[in-house]
């Protein structure tokens, strides 16, 4: 039982980090129509920015903010310089996926060329440990979960109650129609890149803090989890991605307690393929896209 609760603790942390990333990824896809496989590479960039700021002796919070800002800018640039021109030319979705894979290589291994191939240690004092039954969480872990919950709430408010959120949803549903209704779609898209880039940077930084030691290629596998969570929830569906992140996060960590930890990702893998085969629109069965 305590084994189960302990694994739930791990699962909650993974879910929290995963939720930030998955919501960012899925919103990016919904509004901009780019299935951005460079997402994890941008996360890595965010992690290193947070790490460097921290190493310089500045507080963790500033580090997180710096990571968000950096990834926000990087994502906007990525769109303006690469994705948007391809889209304007009418490239197929699959071409954009291949381009994003190319950008992933450029960013990820560009970082590796600068920092070298070894992992850096980003461990910090974990603070007090809280226990409830077998559930054990450190202060840092609780803060990460709190950040994630706050981000989910913020995304909810943004999408449901703000003008920008409505414009984003309209652009996601039908870009041409949104434009005809007076929504400045290209501006909405740029802002979306900025916001989701910020989420990406935040996810990268907390992911690095959570795992403690990271390197330029640490996020490769995390991308698989993001994709699994996003497809479980239905690509483009922010609420679906939240649920997907919870399912995948808990599923991988709890299963790790009972089977060999090496195989914990199998859950994510099976979930993703099953969704693709049976319900490509996701658990909530949202609108069918294209």
């Amino acid at each position: 039982m305590s084994l189960f609760l302990a694994s739930v603790g791990f699962g909650l942390i993974t879910s929290a980090v995963l939720a930030i990333a998955s919501v960012g990824f899925t919103l990016q896809f919904a509004v901009t129509d780019v299935l951005n496989l460079a997402f994890a590479a941008v996360m890595t960039a965010g992690a290193f920015v947070a790490y460097w700021v921290n190493q310089a002796g500045v507080s963790v919070w500033i580090g997180l903010a710096a990571a968000m800002a950096a990834c926000s800018v990087l994502s906007v640039l990525l769109n303006l310089a690469v994705y948007a021109p391809f889209q304007r030319r009418g490239s197929s979705p699959i071409t954009l996926v291949i381009v994003s894979l190319g950008m992933a290589l450029i960013i990820e291994f560009g970082i590796q060329a600068v920092v070298g191939g070894v992992n850096v240690s980003y461990s910090m004092g974990q603070g007090r440990t809280f226990r409830a039954g077998g559930l054990v969480l450190t202060t840092v872990q609780i803060v990460i979960i709190a950040i994630s919950v706050a981000v989910m709430a913020a995304v909810h408010v943004l999408l449901r109650y703000s003008r920008l959120g409505k414009a984003m949803r309209a652009t996601a549903a039908n870009r041409t129609l949104a434009r005809n209704c007076g929504i400045r779609a290209s501006r909405v898209i740029t802002i979306t890149w900025a916001i989701t880039g910020g989420l990406c940077g935040l996810a990268g930084a907390v992911f690095a803090i959570d795992i403690g030691s990271f390197g330029p290629t640490s996020d490769d596998l995390f991308l698989i989890l993001i994709l699994a969570a996003v497809f479980l929830g239905g690509p483009g569906d922010a609420y679906g991605a939240m649920i997907g992140a919870l399912v995948i996060g808990l599923g991988t960590e709890v299963s790790a307690a009972y089977i060999q930890p090496d195989y914990k990702y199998v859950i994510a893998f099976v979930a993703l393929l099953a969704m693709l085969a049976l319900r490509p629109t996701g658990l909530l069965g949202a609108r069918a896209r294209g």
Binding site: I98, I106, Q112, L221, F231, Y263, F269, L276, P280, R287
Partner: protein, 614 residues
Amino acid sequence: MFYLITLLVYGAVDVIACLGLSQQFGVAGVTNFGFIIFQAAGAYVAASLALPSDTSNGGYQIYIGGLHLPFPMPLIGAALAGALLALPFTFLVGRRLRGDFAAIGLLVTAVLLNLLVTDYRPLFNGDAGVAQVPGPLQSGIFILSSTTYRWVFVAAVIVLAAGVYMFLRRITESPYGRTLRAMRDNDKVADSLGKNLVSLRTGVLVLGGAIAGLSGGVLVSFISVWSPAAWSYAETIVLFAAVIIGGAGNHRGAILGAILVPVGFEEVTRLITNSNPSLPPNLLPSLQWVAIGLLIVLFLWFRPQGVLPERKRLIAVPAPAPAAGQAGEPSAGPAASGHDGQGLLTRGEVARAREGASGAAGGDDILQAVGLSRDFGGVQAVSDVTFTVRRATLTGLIGPNGAGKSTLLALLAGTDRPSAGTILYNGQDITALPAFRRARMGLVRTFQLASEFKRLTVMENLLSAAPGNRGDSFRGAVAGRRYWRGDEAAAIARATDILRRFGLDKLANDYAGDLSGGQRRLVEIMRALMAEPDVLLLDEPMAGVHPELARRIGDTLVGLCREGLTILMVEHELAIMDEFCDPVIVMAEGSLLAEGTMAQLRERTEVVEAYLVG
């Protein structure tokens, strides 16, 4: 010397792999981001078949199998393994899934399979991989000095690569290959023309998988080791870079790409590393990956067709028969030449003959919709529509924007499935049949948006729709040109007739993607006619077409109906309806509003209010 031999073998293996990928990605448009797992499967299976049982090696490596089979069994096994591995992925490349989603599924599979094989040692010795795999014939049938043996090996692999190239060329240049390229350019349209996408894509995955598996088997027989590090998912990206740079869809381009990218990069890196031993160890491999990424993005932007673009397939248009005369001249418009299209409607005529013989059983109603509905998440696009299309009529379907006309057409053609209701075709319930089956029964549609196969010529667009070509199957393609050239010649003759009828024969060898909007609509109609339809469903065939041309299209359609073809046509222009269509069906807000001749409809106030005034 040993280095040169190794380079040659690697080069030839990369060529084989790139050819397989080029067939999948460049020719058939199947983006297999998991390509490398097929190579890996081949390598492991070849190793497992060639190695002796793992109990005989003192237990330093464990693996399943260990059958110790002689050459060429391991290589045959490798190809089979790649082919069989493709089967479970069939569900990913079916009709319903977007190509990019399927690609993601394959990518994820590749990453996770690598992880599993790395962590699960009993399968293939885990992270360390298998070693000491015996090469072909190394157990002493031919005693060759080591260098001679290696040179023979090199020669054999190069011959094998050449064989794979010849084989793929044979397939790509056949009617089957043309169908694959049509599917690449627009899969939905290929489906509506009677192409079974699931079976085509499965074939492509299986063939590419077999080639990838073979390349893996060859590689492991030479280097004698194989481990998860050799087949990380990123290796697939290298192969993609090679195919994109060389020229997707051109097998020579794939060969060039294989030599430039995987081989060339290794070489350059090695040279730089050797000349600058002081560089940090990780820098060059990192920069190598950055360069691969840059090459992919830059090529897709500046030269998406690659160094060696796909070749244009020119098909000589047979000279016109003397009687037809003045073909291609605008004055000899379609209406004027209404009777030189003999054989245009082969199947229609057969159907009518059959009808006559059986005493007109089934009556005149060729297509019936009964209580047809389709809702999209609560919005009723089509609700409870019942109507009948009579044989050999040109029935118009009219209604304001958003009335559900195109959705109705999609339901009839099988592009979309109804939420409720039944569709009867020649009295038979076809509601559950997929689009390609309905097309094969003679129920063919066109699309509202331009849907030509862009990178096929006009002639090829037409030929791609011809049913019953013996070369339009994998087996037919393998059998070779001699097997299918009779059918091909017949199809070309028929396509030429249709081209003349529409006055487009001069453009037969132009890429369809380069035509004007009106010409592309014509291509689409001609292509649908090539499919030998009994019922043609046209979605705004005259939208955006010059009025003069629209009239000519209309006259031709009327002529075709006289010959026995049935047409249901969605159109916005009342003038066109007035002139050509009888009867006319009016739709508004998903429901059927009225039916009758235009004159009758004008009498009815609700119709006038709903549409004719607005």
